[in-house]
Amino acid sequence: MPPSDFTDTNQDDETPSLKIAPNFLTSPFNYMSHHVQSLLVKILKQGPIPQHLGFIMDGNRRFARKMNYKQVFEGHFMGSDNLQEALNICFHLGVKVVTIYAFSIENFKRPKEEVDMLMELGKTKFIEFCEKSHLVNKYGFCVRILGNIALLPIDVQEAAKKVVDTTKHNTGSILNICVPYTSRDEITSSIKSVIKSVENGHMQIRDINEEIIEKCLYTYGSPPLNILIRTSGEIRLSDFLLWQCHKNCYIHFVDCFWPEFSLWELLPIILEYQLSYNSLKVTIVLSNCLFIWLICKVMITFDIMNRLG
């Protein structure tokens, strides 16, 4: 697991150890951002928190190109590291379910070399989760694999099955990994199983309705999707959770690449969600956040002045 500022802060919320906390006098900005993040999460937690978040983690390759990495694939590594950060923030906030679009069935069209590397990366992650990674230990989440698993290479399939098996008794949160997935494929497989149960005499045709189809989707058992986030500025759903996001779900197209996505991008999204509740608690959360934001602005100005001076 990559080192994470955020993780360190959370381990000791009240009295951060002096060893890891940057010095206020020498680097006020680092000092503040270190503490501000965990403070912000604490404040946000006072308001209503969405139960189910979906992520289309787009823009890894474009990020690598932007940063002039030698290998475009390095973008995927950065993206995978950032996923850990994002999960850390989400689960710390109290989000129950996070569903991520890890690999689309359409992605098999990419060059074989890239597909192989992505499969290897996925496998490594699965094994890591099995070996009780820090993140799994901390939040006790269970991993579910959503998608047409038969399309995966055998070794990845086995790793996927193992991670589902090892974490299935965890009662904390849920991490839905969509691999290899498309929503149309999911709806088709759901309709197929509905029709099979009619064929087998378990169900009457007149009983077929929206709810039955929904019950046969991969996401069954997860609370309704509240927020869907797509990074990289693209403005389409690319066949992800079409059925789930079609009602009572806020969609956000965020204008940054996935490896750049942080609490600062998530913050306004959560605040907007909380605002829709319009309660006193939310007003308090909002005024606190504004206060912190102001302090940050002052600190950034100070930091710039410090560097200049």
């Binding site: 069209k109 709806i187 029709i195 079409l242 079609h246 779900c249």
Partner: protein, 221 residues
Amino acid sequence: MFAHDITFQQDLKILDKIPKHLAVLFWGEINEKRLKEAAQLCCWSWCSGIKMLSIYNVEDDLKNNAQLLQSYIDTFSRHFFIHEKFIPIIRVTALCASKKPIYSNNEDSNLPDMQVNLISYADGRPWIAEVTKNLAEDVIQGKITSDELNIEELDRRISVPHFSEPQLLILFSPKIELEGFPPWHIHLTEIFHVPGNSEFHYSIFVKALRKYSKCDQRFGR
């Protein structure tokens, strides 16, 4: 009130591609103002080369006003296309996907120059449930086996000829919310959001088309 022909030409020149099928989602109540905006939109769309226009409102208000909308379109197009050689036939249909699938008849000599679909919640999830029922009947009658069922077969049944997937959806709503828009039909649709519930100005229409023309779809690659 209407954009001048010359402006139109200039606006379209810089666009690399135009959606064949444009969809618009109107949030909230449908009033006379919205209907007139929709009628204007039909004229702009035809001028831009859009072949099909679908207008969505979660309630059935739009569908119930299909005739009124048609009369607005007829009035507007007489003024709008005054310098054109002919006035295009723009036909409004209240889509009733979930009640009875209507398949277009190619022999129909009165094919419109542009088709306008009015759609509502019923054409989304409930229509998929309806298709599933029909499929189940076909399976029971042995017309198709459940193993033969795949995405293409479902797409053939869900995307009736009158209502295929739009390439661009213009969303008039406070937040980006789909309000029950048919889920199957937006798997690759570009979604252009107009915050608030503002008026549908010509500038918004051009902005949306520009954004669409810049979108680069990689289809998974």
